[in-house]
């Protein structure tokens, strides 16, 4: 019996590789078209900012003494379903994209007054829907439930939801605007925010983009392989932290919420050595740094912004950030399709963490006109008669 299975496998292998399973009627089996417009992305991001002293004007500040933060993000972004729709005369292509998103964020706030570091995590798994209406409009919806935990303290597990609904209107290739809503934690608290954005300049060229609450950036590509940007953006979140150091003593909470945010201002360089891989390095200064602690029992019935029992504005610091982006799969062409460029750009940020996923690096780079080409590169384009 065991050998029979191996024999079936061997026969199957031979038939498959000798192409005896090919259709008889069609001597040319056309390969399957790429299904999606978005690559599958896997990305990591590392962030670290310097140590700063906390004020000793209250009990918590005195106890914590100083603050320094390291952050690591690992995430993915997978297109699950793509459907092209044509209008009646099949001249306009609109399309719907459903993507699965997920990320694991780990932050380690280091307080010199506490002996043991807390490793806080945020794990999210969500979906993203993008509907490109074909002409100038795009609808973008994101639903991203996540769970926060102080690793090692299972009783601190808490779940929350971040979401966004954005309407993008591409006026022309030089200008687009966005309006919408975002439920976000990136300002270190729970906020329901309006989403307002404008972009001036081509997405595959130099552009200036103001996207609230995501950030402001001035982007300059240098050739095909390097993209630079000057930017400022908020970064932060609300995480569960065990009250193992008795930071809150009023209601005997076992688990607290730790909120932090900072504004990063700096420069970023993206390097795209391959179409399947890119990396970036970024550095600059953090400003408007703030940390907060929230009591769970005090905020139990509070559905709006959380009220903190400890809040402190912290001095700025130098930060360092770098990341890797891996792209997989074959995708449909989007050359000069500025609506799709905007869709790629909308998909370029993990809204929950405000981390760039590198999706907009899928926007095709422009080629120099007088580039050298080899015969093998153009064999499909040129017939012998073209040389006459």
């Amino acid at each position: 019996m065991r050998y029979a299975k191996i024999l079936y496998l061997l026969i199957g292998f031979v038939f498959f590789y000798t192409k005896l399973l090919a259709f008889k009627d069609d001597s040319l089996m056309v390969k399957k078209q790429a299904k999606h417009y978005f690559h599958t992305l896997v990305y990591t991001d590392f962030y670290s900012a310097g140590k700063r002293d906390l004020s000793d004007i209250n009990f918590v500040g005195k106890k914590l003494k100083s603050y320094q933060v390291n952050q690591f993000v690992f995430g993915f972004n997978v297109p699950l379903f793509t459907k092209d729709y044509y209008n009646r005369d099949s001249s306009v292509i609109s399309n719907f994209h459903l993507l699965l998103t997920g990320s694991y964020l780990s932050i380690t706030p280091k307080f010199s007054g506490i002996a043991k570091d807390h490793h806080l995590s945020r794990t999210s798994l969500g979906v993203r829907a993008i509907y490109n209406m074909g002409r100038r409009s795009i609808l973008y919806a994101e639903f991203s439930p996540f769970m926060t935990q102080d690793n090692g303290y299972s009783y601190t597990k808490r779940s929350r939801i971040a979401s966004a609904l954005i309407y993008n209107f591409t006026v022309n290739k030089y200008f687009s605007f966005r309006l919408g809503y975002a439920r976000s934690f990136i300002y270190g608290n729970r906020f329901n925010l309006p989403y307002i954005g404008i972009r001036v300049g081509k997405l595959d060229g130099v552009n200036f983009s103001v996207q609230f609450p995501r950030g402001i950036s001035f982007n300059v590509p240098i050739g095909k392989y390097v993209k630079t940007s000057l930017y400022t953006k908020p970064q932060g979140g609300v995480y569960s932290i065990a009250n193992s150091d008795s930071l809150y003593y009023l209601n005997n909470d076992k688990s607290l919420n730790f909120g932090r945010y900072e504004f990063l201002g700096g420069t970023r360089i993206d390097v795209l050595p391959s179409r399947f891989f890119s990396f970036y390095v970024s550095g600059g200064l953090t400003t408007q740094n703030s940390i907060k602690l929230f009591s769970e029992s005090y905020n139990r019935r509070n559905n709006n912004q959380l009220n903190s029992f400890y809040s402190e504005k912290i001095a700025g610091s130098v930060f360092m950030n770098f990341g890797l982006v891996f792209k997989f799969g074959k995708v449909k062409s989007t050359f000069n399709n500025y609506n799709m460029y905007n869709a790629l750009d909308l998909n370029s940020t993990d809204i929950g963490n405000n981390v760039n996923t590198g999706s907009n690096q899928q926007i095709p780079a422009k080629e120099k006109k007088n580039q050298r080409v080899t015969p093998s590169e153009v064999q499909d384009l040129i017939e012998t008669q073209d040389f006459y």
Partner: protein, 147 residues
């Protein structure tokens, strides 16, 4: 800090490994980007025409490329025809004819689609731009081979 260092080493290793095997874009992407930029510079389209034409044009090129790729995959590029049997040679020639037929049908189908989004004159201009692009490529190849 030790853990951060570990991550940094892993990342650096990945960067070097991937950079070593990096292929900056496929041949097809390079030529497509050149062609699109050439056509854009030769034919001026309105915003609305741009928004409707390029998705169709990309779709057309994806399909045309797929037909050629399928053919190339079925028949190994550098096959020695002297060693082929008559039957195999005939299969090759028939497949080549089928490629041409499929390309023709595709061009016809998309010509009808382009007519709905662009004035006929602009389609002709794009066709001419495509031909001019080929000429540019030929010039480029000739220039390379003469060096």
């Amino acid at each position: 800090m030790k853990q951060v260092n570990k991550y940094i080493y892993i990342c650096l290793f990945c960067i070097f490994a991937l950079s070593a095997m990096a292929q900056p874009g496929t041949k097809r992407d390079k030529i497509e980007a050149l062609r699109v930029s050439f056509i854009s510079s030769k034919v001026s389209l309105t915003t609305q025409e741009n928004q409707m034409f390029w998705p169709l044009y990309n779709e057309y090129n994806d399909k045309a490329d797929n037909i050629k790729k399928s053919f190339r995959q079925q028949f190994v590029k550098d096959v020695d025809f002297n060693t082929l049997s008559d039957k195999e040679a005939e299969a090759y020639l028939i497949a080549e004819l089928l490629v041409k037929q499929k390309e023709y049908e595709l061009s016809k189908e998309y010509y009808e689609k382009f007519k709905k989004v662009l004035p006929i004159k602009k389609i002709a201009l794009i066709k001419r731009a495509e031909e001019d692009f080929k000429k540019e490529l030929i010039k480029n190849i000739k220039g390379n081979s003469s060096e």
